[in-house]
């Protein structure tokens, strides 16, 4: 508990850094060409109330996200995903993420990536807040309840 132990088997410094650079490049593209922030929860939440002219880019961006695995699949196998959660937990988690990101006006991409890049104090507070409860939740689930 006192000393942090690193999970060397799962730690992927280079691909994670490279993936991060790609995510940054995508956010750069969207802000410089479309003039919008690449915050996934806001793009999606905004689509639910968008007018016709505003809906197009939102839908196109989301379709791009959904299509990414298909493009990836042309080159190689999709990376493995470890999802231990059952149905009830998945539903509860989705509801909390949906409500929370709308009241908080952003998620890991809007606040975490774009907001921190804009040096926004609002986004720094939001990012610290969701990192804090995220870590607390994992602590309770992994080390208190089990």
């Amino acid at each position: 508990m006192l000393f942090m132990t690193l999970d060397w088997t799962h730690f992927t410094p280079w691909t994670s850094l490279a993936g991060g650079l790609l995510i940054g490049a995508a956010a750069a593209l969207l802000v410089l060409l479309n003039g919008r922030v690449a915050g996934i929860s806001s793009v999606l939440g905004g689509l639910m109330v968008a007018e016709r002219e505003d809906a197009g880019w939102r839908a196109a961006f989301l379709i791009g996200l959904i299509a990414a695995p298909a493009l990836w699949g042309l080159v190689g196998a999709l990376p493995a995903a470890r999802i231990d959660a059952g149905t009830a937990t998945l539903i509860a988690s989705g509801l909390l993420v949906g409500v929370g990101t709308r009241y908080g006006s952003g998620c890991t991409s809007g606040h975490g990536v774009c907001g921190l890049s804009r040096l926004s104090p609002r986004s720094l507070v939001a990012t610290l807040a969701f990192m804090f409860t995220g870590a607390c939740t994992v602590f309770v689930v992994r080390h208190v309840l089990t």
């Binding site: 850094l17 509801l95 709308r102 009241y103 908080g104 890049s117 939001a126 990192m131 689930v141």
Partner: protein, 154 residues
């Protein structure tokens, strides 16, 4: 053209999430598990993205129009209020339960992950609850067009 650039941005964003390993909830939970076997990968993903983002948003801040000539809309909200903090705290609990946040969940849905699709469906319901709650709270200004700023501030 605007749709095409947004599609390309979404596609690259999704490829970045796949390459980074963030579509694996196990890696995200490994990062949030500070007292267990800690996987720092997520910090490098955010670091890499912010590194590029600093330049991009730095350039965007000095512009009023995009490279395509349309209005460039950066968030204007500045107040750190209860909505921002409580909303983010609630989001964090949901994030820590499974390890999905909106982007990776949508990409994983595209991979054919049924669990991701279920998560996204519940997330849409959550977003709908927000819309309904906001309209009940502010019936007169609950109109979507007037509230645009609030909906897409970040």
């Amino acid at each position: 053209m605007k749709q095409l650039s947004a599609f390309a941005a979404g596609l690259i964003f999704g490829l970045g999430l796949l390459l980074s390993g963030m579509t694996d909830p196990g890696k995200v939970l490994g990062f949030l598990d500070f007292t267990g076997a800690w996987d720092p990968s997520l910090a490098l993903v955010m670091g890499g993205a912010v590194l590029v983002g600093l330049f991009a948003f730095g350039a965007a801040r000095r512009r009023t129009v995009t490279l395509l000539g349309d209005a460039l809309r950066l968030p204007t909200a500045r107040d750190i209020d209860a909505r921002l903090v409580v909303g983010s705290l609630v989001f964090g609990v949901g994030w820590g339960l499974v390890g999905f946040c909106p982007g990776p969940a949508i990409v994983s849905m595209g991979s054919g992950q049924l669990k991701a699709a279920l998560f996204v469906a519940a997330m849409l319901v959550g977003m709908l609850i927000y819309i309904v709650a906001e309209r009940l709270r502010r019936p007169r200004e609950g109109d979507a067009t007037e509230n645009r700023g609030a909906y897409s501030s970040d």
